[in-house]
């Protein structure tokens, strides 16, 4: 039987390569970059025929002529002068990445209690290649995503976190990704997070653009979570409408590990979040949650790929969206159960509410299953608030507007309640409430002076 190969992707948009230096980096990073560039040449920028990009035209965004930031810039300010997190009660270790490069507090990796190492990826490559080499790009290089490959071809820095065996982080690490420029720039940070065996950690990732210019971020983050370890990832996106934020989260899990990720997208002109999870050891568990609230012409697209590569693994995905005005949303959630991944349990839910006729939602939950002893379900809905419930609340004297708010809040609550960091959960609850009431026009609360 001659098998007809699927059509090769069209030639990569070589024009984009002109924005980057011709020469690959040196050493370990250079090796990774060179291989990634080959992959990028093969995959190219994903077109609309690419199933994972069916509802988001990234070629159009990339064509807009952003200048790539390819080296760290010299700064004469301290980070506190330009940015302050607005949750003062948040007790975290804070690290900053500016325009894709680690904003150095010290010129070497910091050691946190328990032997935890944190700092810049470049620092880590330089100081601890022994820790970096076995992991960097291992899982990301399995992806055929052209945009991830573009990042991997040129990204030179970002955040690095290493939690050794048996270490339990006493408080979460907070990574603040900032973009600040007076030009229209494209930044490509790349991060690496490693948890050894029996380790525990928490990570809060905040993305902010401290500029009103149009900017584009194309980020890659890899998470390797070893045997019996657990990691909580919370991400808060609160960005303005000229921001295009593309991110690729690659989560690779070992035996009996557990990862929970919660992505809250409050604002952003164009948001595209990829989450690829590989459950690579028996008994691994992954819980992925997401909530996005969009209005005006915002475009928010979440694409999940959950790869059950080992037996006895469990995954759940709960993604919810509220779309107002001319907002457009997309969700894709693919669950792959590989041959032999018996006793898999995978449950996926995607629920969306359209508030205006001009809003649009496309959703595409997918099951691809090659093992029989599995329990997999997915469900997706697009609709409005339940009219029966609305009537019930109103019949108890609650005004329609408040009743709607209550129901929408209840809708969002299913995701928010999973956030484990209390002050963060309270803050997000408040932000969501204000966002739903239209009182949070855009990201402005968490920085003091973006013009500086």
């Amino acid at each position: 039987m001659i098998v007809v190969e699927k059509k090769p992707p069209k030639d990569p948009d070589t024009a984009i390569l002109e924005r980057f230096p011709k020469q690959a980096g040196e050493g370990l990073m250079g090796k990774v970059q060179a291989r990634a560039l080959e992959q990028f040449m093969r995959y190219g920028i994903p077109g609309k025929k690419n199933e994972r990009y069916k509802y988001t035209d990234v070629a159009e965004i990339l064509a807009e002529g952003y200048q790539a930031v390819t080296a760290p810039e010299h700064h004469d300010f301290r980070i506190e002068e330009i940015f302050r997190c607005d949750i003062p009660t948040l007790n975290t270790w804070v690290f900053t990445v500016l325009n894709g490069f680690y904003f150095e507090k010290e010129d070497h990796l910091q050691e946190l209690p328990g032997g935890v190492l944190a700092g810049g990826l470049r620092q880590a490559v330089r100081e601890r290649p022994d820790l970096v080499e076995p992991y960097l790009d291992r899982y990301a290089s399995e992806s055929s995503d052209g945009l991830a490959a573009l990042n991997r071809s040129f990204a030179a820095d970002g955040f690095f976190l290493y939690v050794p065996d048996n270490a339990v982080m006493e408080k979460p690490v907070q990574v603040i990704n900032l973009i600040r420029s007076d030009r229209e720039v494209m930044v490509q940070p790349r991060s690496l997070v490693i948890l050894g065996k029996n380790a525990q950690g928490g990570l809060l990732i905040c993305d902010h653009a401290l500029t009103e210019k149009r900017v584009l971020s194309n980020a890659v983050k890899e998470f390797y979570v070893g045997e019996n370890s657990s990691l909580e990832i919370t991400r808060l996106q609160n960005e303005h409408n000229s921001m295009s934020d593309i991110s690729h989260y690659f989560v690779h899990q070992g035996r009996n590990s557990r990862v929970t990720s919660t992505m809250i997208s409050l604002h952003g002109g164009m948001i595209r979040n990829n989450l690829d999870v590989k459950l690579n050891g028996e008994g691994a568990e992954n819980h992925a949650l997401g909530l996005f609230l969009s209005d005006r012409e915002q475009h928010m697209d979440h694409s999940l790929f959950i790869d059950h590569a080992a037996p006895h693994c469990t995954s759940t995905q709960t993604y919810k969206g509220v779309l107002d005005d001319e907002a457009e949303g997309a969700f894709e959630g693919k669950i792959l159960v590989r041959p032999g991944a018996q006793k898999t349990e995978a449950y996926q839910v995607n629920k969306n509410i359209l508030l205006k006729d001009t809003a649009r939602m496309n959703t595409k939950p997918q099951l691809e299953i090659y093992a029989d002893d599995v329990k997999c379900t997915h469900g997706a809905t697009v609709g409005q608030l339940d009219t029966e419930s609305l009537f019930y609340l109103r019949s108890r004297g609650i005004p329609e507007y408040e009743a709607r708010m209550l129901l929408m809040y209840a809708f969002a609550h299913e995701v928010i309640r999973e956030i484990k960091i209390d002050p963060l959960r309270d803050r997000i609850r408040e932000l969501v409430d204000r966002r739903l009431r239209g009182e949070l026009p855009r990201c402005h609360t968490c920085f003091v002076d973006y013009q500086k």
């Binding site: 007809v4 299953i369 029989d372 002893d373 329990k375 997706a380």
Partner: protein
């Protein structure tokens, strides 16, 4: 009904594909290959008017520019379109068709298939259009139906006798350039059924097409057109079988349905093309485009399909809900065993206001087969109060097969309520054991559980078909447990 079911449960001992025989019928064939001359020749042999030849050539030229679609979850071997015979017809005498003039071997064939063409032995209340390879050999009950104004004939006859209807509607739902296989069909289709239900008429009997591929190396390209005028109703059935052959044979059909105001069309298929042998050798490639349009307000189109045959199935019976308050349904059971592959589902395109669609899909995979549901529910901006509910379940029998679900929900109106649910699970060992304990063999137990699982869909079929379908489900799964 119960008696029939009883019979079925006893009859399931023959595990071979029982329709795999070849009939020795004298055939009139064109040589292998496809070019404009072949198309002209098909049109000439069918004595078609000029407009049909133009339609065919337009489609052929378009087809040459197109590429085979590869988006489905299918591994399709290369198809040499020049290695196929595009026209094969059982030889017949001149003059109008009467039963005496049909080749007796052909009558025997249909008897063997359980489709008697002699009206005195008719299937209770079913009119049949029997199509072998490229042409319709016999349509029963035409006179009875004609009294009510119902036209039920081969599409070739319709092209000659009802040109206005054909010109108006042929290609109106599935345009000649719709997709690769539809374009190919438009270029070379040789026959098919035509059905017209006039205003206010409810068809008193089920109308049915029975398709049979007999000749080797041929493709079958039939085209069916159903037009239901205002306030009319028809239930239409389609069945198909083919001999067992080692090579693959291509079946690329097009079905178009037009339902006008308040009309209802129920279209049922029991697809039992030869699936290939246990090692995946041979079998039919079933690449079919079926689409209906609920053109008028309050119209309804209901698709029911039981897919057990074919080596590869690529098929998405769809409905465009254009009329306000129109309704569409899609009920499907698809069984794949051994090396069969199926990528099947539906599209529901909501355009009108207050439209409603329901999708119920039950996939059953066994052996080393792959079975995918692929469906699109699209609610356009102006489609106020659209409703869709989809339930897509997959059942796995054995750990070598695959079951996949690929729904697409595209919603552009806030008043829509679109819900999709899917589950995938293994056949219940405790259920099998329970039946075993009551003395039922594992094979029969699987048959019963699968039939129970598919009940919601089977219930949609007209009774004669439901019985046939139950039997088929069980036979298709034979040998799926070790």
């Amino acid at each position: 009904m119960e008696k029939d079911q009883d019979k079925i449960l006893r009859e399931v001992t023959d595990s071979e594909y029982k329709y795999g025989f070849v009939s020795d019928i004298e055939m009139d064939m064109l040589p292998k290959g496809l070019n404009e001359d072949v198309i002209r020749e098909i049109s000439k042999r069918k004595e078609e008017p000029e407009y049909m030849l133009e339609f065919r050539l337009k489609a052929f030229r378009k087809w040459q520019e197109m590429e085979m679609p590869h988006w489905a979850h299918l591994q399709i071997p290369e198809i040499d379109f020049q290695d196929i015979i595009y026209y094969a017809s059982p030889k017949k005498k001149e003059g109008p068709k009467s039963l005496d003039e049909v080749d007796p071997e052909l009558l025997k064939t249909f008897e063997k298939l359980g489709i008697p063409l002699e009206e005195q032995e008719r299937l209770a209340g079913v009119a049949v259009d029997a199509i072998v390879d490229s042409v319709s050999v016999k349509t029963t009950f035409q006179d009875t139906l004609a009294e009510l104004g119902i036209i039920f004939c081969s599409i070739s006859e319709a092209i000659h006798n009802h040109p206005d209807l054909v010109k108006k509607y042929l290609g109106s739902v599935v345009p000649y350039n719709d997709n690769y296989y539809a374009a190919l069909n438009a270029a070379v289709f040789s026959d098919g059924s035509f059905c017209y239900i006039p205003k206010g008429v409810r068809s008193p009997m089920e109308l049915s097409s029975y398709f049979r591929i007999n000749a080797a190396n041929t493709g079958q390209f039939e085209r069916t057109l159903i037009i239901a005028e205002e306030d009319s109703y028809v239930s239409y059935l389609e069945g198909c079988t083919a001999p067992m052959r080692d090579e693959n044979q291509l079946h690329a059909a097009v079905v178009e349905i037009i339902a006008l105001e308040n009309a209802e069309v129920k279209y049922s298929t029991v697809q039992n093309w030869y699936p290939g042998d246990k090692d995946g050798k041979g079998g039919i490639f079933n690449f079919v485009t079926k689409r209906g349009i609920c053109k008028g307000d309050h119209s309804k189109i209901s698709w029911t399909q039981v897919e057990t045959g074919s080596a590869i199935t690529w098929k998405y019976p769809s409905t465009i809900l254009k009329g306000d308050h129109s309704t569409a349904e899609f009920y499907s059971v698809a069984v794949t065993n051994n090396f069969q592959q199926a990528d099947t589902g539906t599209k529901m395109i909501h355009l009108g206001k207050h439209t409603k669609s329901t999708i119920v899909s039950k996939g059953i995979s066994a052996g080393q087969s792959n079975n995918s549901y692929r469906g699109l529910v699209k609610v356009q901006k102006g489609a106020l109060n659209a409703r869709n509910f989809s339930q897509c379940d997959s059942l796995l029998i054995g750990d070598q097969c695959g079951a996949h679900t690929f729904p697409y929900l595209e919603v552009g109106n806030k008043t829509a309520v679109v819900e999709h649910e899917a589950t995938t699970s293994k056949i219940g060992e405790d259920q099998i054991f329970y039946l075993n304990q009551r003395g039922i063999s594992t094979e029969d137990a699987i048959g019963m559980i699968v039939n129970g699982y598919a009940r919601e869909v089977l219930n949609q079929l007209p009774m004669e078909f439901a019985v046939e379908a139950q039997k088929l489900l069980q036979i298709s799964l034979e040998g799926s447990v070790g």
